[in-house]
C-alpha cells in the first residue's frame, strides 16, 4: 500500500475543517486531529485526489460532500462488540431498566444499527422489549438508512457469533435473523420499538429524557473539551439515576463530571447519573 497521493499536513487538515464548516455547517474542529488526518488521507487515496483537487471538489460539488461525510466519520461497528460489556450490562443495567414501566434508550452514534439491535436482543431476552424504546442517532444519513433496513451480510453476522456466545446469551445470533441467500435480515419484532434519526452531538440538543444512554467508541474521535460538552448533554438528557455506557477504552476524566456520574463498572465504563 504505497502512497499514490501526497500525504496531507496538519495545517492542511485544518484548512479542510474550516472549508467544510463554512460551506456545509459541519464542525469537525474538535475532532481528534490524528484520526481526522488519516480519514482525509484515506479519502484522497480512494478518490485519487491531490489536496488542491479535494478542496476544489468540496467547494463545487455538494454531492461529493455526502461521500466525504460518510468517509470522514468512522462507521466500523460490530454486534456485541466487547462481549464482557454486554454480560455486565445484563447484570448491572437490565434490572434497573426492568424497574421502569417504560424505558427509553438513546444509542448515540449508532452508525449502521448493530449496537441498537444488540441491545434490542438483550432486552427481548430479558422480557423488556415491549416496554422499551431505542432511539438510534448518527450524523451519517446513509448509515441510518442501513440501520433502518436492518439487513446485513450473512458473512458479517456470522463473524459476530463469537461475540454473541462470549456475551453469554441464549441460542445463537442467527436465531434473530431471517436469512435469505447471503443476506441476514433482523427479525421485524426487534425493529418495532426502534427509531433512527439524524442527530449531531456537536451541534444538536436534548430531545428526550432517557433511562439509558449508550455512546460507545464515539468519544475516541473527540477532543476532551468536546467530550465534556457532550457529557453535559447526556447529563441533561438522563432521568435521575439513569445509566451512561461509554466504550471499553473511554473514560470520564474531569472532576466536575466525576461528581455527576457514579462509576458502576470501572472496567466496562458503565456510569450512573447522580445529583439532581
Amino acid at each position: 500500500m504505497h502512497d499514490s497521493v501526497e500525504t496531507i499536513t496538519a495545517p492542511q487538515v485544518i484548512e479542510i475543517i474550516d472549508l467544510v464548516k463554512q460551506i456545509y455547517g459541519f464542525d469537525f474542529g474538535s475532532y481528534t486531529k490524528a484520526s481526522l488526518k488519516r480519514r482525509v488521507t484515506r479519502i484522497m487515496q480512494l478518490k485519487k485526489l491531490q489536496f488542491y483537487d479535494l478542496k476544489h471538489i468540496l467547494v463545487n460539488d455538494s454531492g461529493f460532500f455526502q461521500q466525504f461525510l460518510e468517509e470522514i466519520t468512522v462507521n466500523v461497528t460490530e454486534m456485541f462488540r466487547d462481549p464482557s460489556f454486554y454480560s455486565s450490562f445484563n447484570k448491572q443495567v437490565i434490572p434497573y431498566l426492568a424497574s421502569y414501566p417504560h424505558a427509553k434508550i438513546w444509542c448515540a452514534g449508532c452508525s449502521s444499527g448493530e449496537e441498537v439491535y444488540s441491545l434490542a436482543i438483550l432486552l427481548q431476552q430479558a422480557g423488556l422489549r415491549k416496554k422499551s424504546f431505542i432511539y438510534g442517532t448518527d450524523i451519517n444519513t446513509e448509515c441510518l438508512k442501513e440501520a433502518r433496513k436492518g439487513i446485513y451480510s450473512l458473512r458479517k453476522i456470522k463473524s459476530y457469533a463469537e461475540n454473541y456466545q462470549l456475551a453469554g446469551l441464549e441460542g445463537s445470533i442467527t436465531d434473530h435473523f431471517t436469512i435469505l441467500y447471503d443476506a441476514a435480515s433482523i427479525h421485524s419484532e426487534l425493529k418495532q420499538n426502534t427509531l433512527f434519526s439524524v442527530h449531531n452531538l456537536v451541534s444538536d440538543n436534548v430531545f428526550n429524557e432517557f433511562q439509558l444512554i449508550t455512546c460507545r467508541n464515539v468519544f475516541i474521535y473527540f477532543e476532551i473539551a468536546l467530550q465534556e460538552w457532550i457529557l453535559d448533554l447526556f447529563y441533561q438528557s438522563l432521568a435521575p439515576l439513569g445509566f451512561l455506557c461509554l466504550g471499553a477504552k473511554e473514560t470520564i476524566r474531569s472532576d466536575n463530571f466525576r461528581k455527576k456520574f457514579k462509576v458502576i463498572n470501572q472496567k466496562e465504563n458503565i456510569y450512573q447519573k447522580i445529583g439532581s
Partner: protein, 195 residues
C-alpha cells in the same frame, strides 16, 4: 554487528521507543520489558498483534515483570516518561500533537487492529528524530510502511534480523522497503537498550 556511536547516541537521544511485532515477537519484547530500568527516561509503546476478545495474559505478564510503570492505553492518556504503554486489542492507537493518545476503531490494516503502521506513522509526525523504533518477528508486512515513515523523519529504525526471527516476513518486508537503518539480532538489540 557491533553497536557504533551513531546508534548509541541516537538511542540515548530518543524520548520515545516503539516496539512492534506479531507472531514470534512476544519473547523478545517480553525480554525487553524485563530489561528496562525503572527510570529509562523514555516513553515506551508496545504494539503486538493479537486477537480481540482474547484476554491474554500478555498485559499481566508484562506488568508483573516490568520495573517501569505499565498500562494499556485508554483514550486521551498522556504519554509519560518511564511508562510502558500497550496498544489495546481491537483499536488503532494514534498520538496527538499534545502527546496524548487517541484511539480509532476504523478498518483493520493487514487484518490487524492494532496496526503497527498506524502507530508508527502517527509517532513519526510527533516525535520525528527523537524516536527509536524496532520491528520484530511477524508473519505479515504490517509495520514496514510505518517504519519507513519514521526513517524519513529521522527516527532510528531497527529490525530484528530475519534470520534471528521466528517469523521473518515482517522484518523482511521492512528491509525490502529500505525502512530499516539497522538490522540487528536480539542480542544486540538488548545490548543497545542497556546503553
Amino acid at each position: 554487528m557491533a553497536l557504533d556511536d551513531n546508534i548509541v547516541q541516537r538511542w540515548r537521544n530518543s524520548d520515545l521507543l516503539l516496539l512492534g511485532g506479531s507472531a514470534g515477537s512476544f519473547k523478545p519484547i517480553y525480554h525487553c520489558v524485563k530489561l528496562f530500568p525503572k527510570n529509562l527516561n523514555k516513553t515506551v509503546i508496545i504494539i503486538i498483534h493479537r486477537k480481540k476478545n482474547f484476554f491474554s495474559e500478555i498485559e499481566k505478564l508484562f506488568a508483573d515483570n516490568s520495573r517501569m510503570m505499565m498500562r494499556e492505553v485508554t483514550d486521551k492518556d498522556v504519554l509519560n516518561a518511564n511508562t510502558i504503554y500497550i496498544a489495546p486489542a481491537n483499536y488503532h492507537t494514534l498520538i496527538e500533537k499534545d502527546k496524548s493518545f487517541s484511539l480509532d476503531v476504523s478498518e483493520a490494516i493487514w487484518y490487524s487492529r492494532p496496526s503497527i503502521d498506524v502507530t508508527f506513522e502517527s509517532a513519526s509526525e510527533i516525535y520525528k528524530n527523537r524516536c527509536t523504533a524496532v520491528l520484530f518477528s511477524g508473519a505479515n508486512p504490517d509495520g514496514a510502511e510505518g517504519l519507513l515513515k519514521l526513517r524519513h523523519k529521522g527516527a532510528l529504525t531497527i529490525v530484528q534480523d530475519p534470520d534471528d526471527a521466528e517469523m521473518r516476513e515482517m522484518p523482511q518486508a521492512a528491509i525490502a522497503l529500505n525502512a530499516a537503518e539497522y538490522t540487528l539480532n536480539t542480542k544486540d538489540i538488548f545490548e543497545l537498550f542497556q546503553k
